[in-house]
């Protein structure tokens, strides 16, 4: 019998756990070497803060507010990027009109946008606006690339068989666009979280994760700071999982059509 070249699942899991344990230990040793909690909290102190924050109602309000705003920005970007990319794939004028905006959004630093946005809009929806500005070019570019990469031979088939626009969308465009849209949306959602929370830290809207991070920073409370960071990572992972599940459901629904 040929020896198996793939590593068993339990071994992969064990290696992963060992790696996490190694870095936690490194962190603990560094914290002990620094010797000041306000400079670098230990993993245990962060865990205690994490659990304590979970018992506070104000934490849930912050989760809700920030998640809502980031998701509003992200989904607005998703819808608008889909619409404009569809338009740009058919109209040179729309393509040329949107291109400079996309290039601008890609190159201008987030901080510049945030400061400009603080002047122009209320800080309450600042993170939504920044999440939108950051997510839009990523999704737009990916969708447009997907639309331009459509199988021309299959589009000729659609033309010869006089396929209706709806059926063309369901059987040709969406299946071919799926991987471009998914990869763009997943990247954009991660960036939305990063930029949205960064905007909140600068704008300090009341009852947001950004406000909590800012408060932890001014009080030199690194345990809270890292605990809030862990919450952001978890929320980002959770929304990412939900988004992927939604896309997966959408793909299954398409194959049943």
């Amino acid at each position: 019998m040929m020896p198996s070249t793939t590593r068993p699942e339990w071994k992969k899991g064990a290696y992963r756990l060992l790696a996490v344990a190694f870095w936690l230990l490194a962190w603990q040793l560094t914290a002990m070497a620094v010797g000041h909690e306000f400079l670098l909290a230990s993993p245990l102190q962060v865990f205690i803060s994490f659990v304590r924050l979970l018992t506070l109602p104000s934490s849930y309000l912050a989760f809700l507010n920030s998640t809502l705003r980031v998701l509003v920005g992200f989904f607005t970007a998703l819808c608008l990027a889909l619409l404009l990319a569809a338009g740009a794939s058919r109209s040179r004028l729309i393509h040329e009109l949107v291109s400079p905006l996309v290039a601008l959004a890609r190159s201008v630093p987030v901080t510049s946008f945030v400061i400009l946005a603080i002047i122009l809009v209320s800080t309450r929806w600042l993170s939504a606006l920044i999440a939108f500005v950051i997510a839009f070019p990523v999704i737009y570019s990916n969708v447009l690339e997907g639309l331009f990469a459509q199988d021309k031979a299959l589009l000729e088939v659609a033309a010869v068989f006089r396929v209706t626009p709806f059926r063309k969308l369901i059987y040709i465009t969406l299946p071919q666009l799926y991987s471009y849209l998914l990869s763009g949306a997943v990247t954009a959602l991660g960036l939305s979280w990063k930029s949205g929370i960064a905007a909140e830290v600068i704008g300090i809207p009341r009852g947001s994760i950004g406000e909590k991070l800012y408060s932890a920073k001014v009080n030199y409370n690194t345990a809270d700071l890292l605990a809030w960071t862990a919450f952001i990572v978890l929320l980002s992972l959770l929304t990412n999982k939900i988004l992927k599940a939604l896309f997966s459901r959408g793909r299954e629904a398409l194959t049943r059509l």
């Binding site: 068989f161 209706t164 059926r167 063309k168 059987y171």
Partner: protein, 190 residues
């Protein structure tokens, strides 16, 4: 019977490469015709001109509609099932007859599997099924039996003949036996 499908004094070039020069072809409606000739002589260009996918530089193309076609390549939606590939051109309303057609072509069991899992011969039959699933007056087929074994060729030819009875067929092939399978008159491409 009048010649309704016509290419008249067609010239077509791609860059500096002149593919057709003052070329004319007429196909009597209701007949099966096989266009034969060596590779690279312009048969596929004629196919594309008749389908309206390529415009001639000069000359006139007149044809009858609706048309249906089997392309030289399978041109299938690979992630979709065989049935969905037929739904692309017919919609869901003809599911029952589409499944029957797939069954006749020996794809009854595989109708709902993704095409990407199919062999070359199976994909070719899906492409043929797609062409036969729609209503047409003129059926154009560019090497429809490519990749099929002799037995499957015969079965496929019978299904094509059944579904295209009384309709006009243009077959493009290198093989006179394939023309015979469809009772097609041979026109040597020159």
């Amino acid at each position: 019977m009048s010649d309704q499908i016509l290419l008249k004094n067609i010239t077509k070039s791609f860059g500096s490469n002149i593919v057709l020069k003052d070329y004319s072809l007429s196909i009597p409606t209701g007949k099966s015709v096989c266009l034969m000739g060596p590779s690279g002589i312009g048969k596929t260009t004629v196919f594309r001109l008749l389908l309206g996918l390529t415009l001639p530089d000069t000359g006139k193309v007149s044809t009858i509609t609706p048309m249906s076609a089997v392309f030289q390549e399978d041109r299938l939606a690979e992630s979709a099932s065989a049935l969905s590939n037929l739904r692309l051109v017919t919609g869901r309303a003809k599911d029952e007859s589409n499944l029957h057609l797939l069954h006749l072509l020996g794809l009854g069991e595989e109708g709902k599997k993704p095409v990407k899992e199919f062999s070359g011969g199976m994909k070719r039959r899906v492409a043929v099924a797609r062409a036969l699933a729609v209503d047409f007056e003129f059926l154009l087929m560019d090497e429809p039996f490519k990749g099929l074994d002799e037995e499957t060729k015969k079965i496929t030819a019978e299904v094509i003949k059944t579904y295209s009875a009384g309709k006009t067929i243009l077959l493009i092939s290198h093989d006179a036996d394939e023309a015979a399978l469809l009772d097609a008159d041979i026109i040597h491409f020159s």
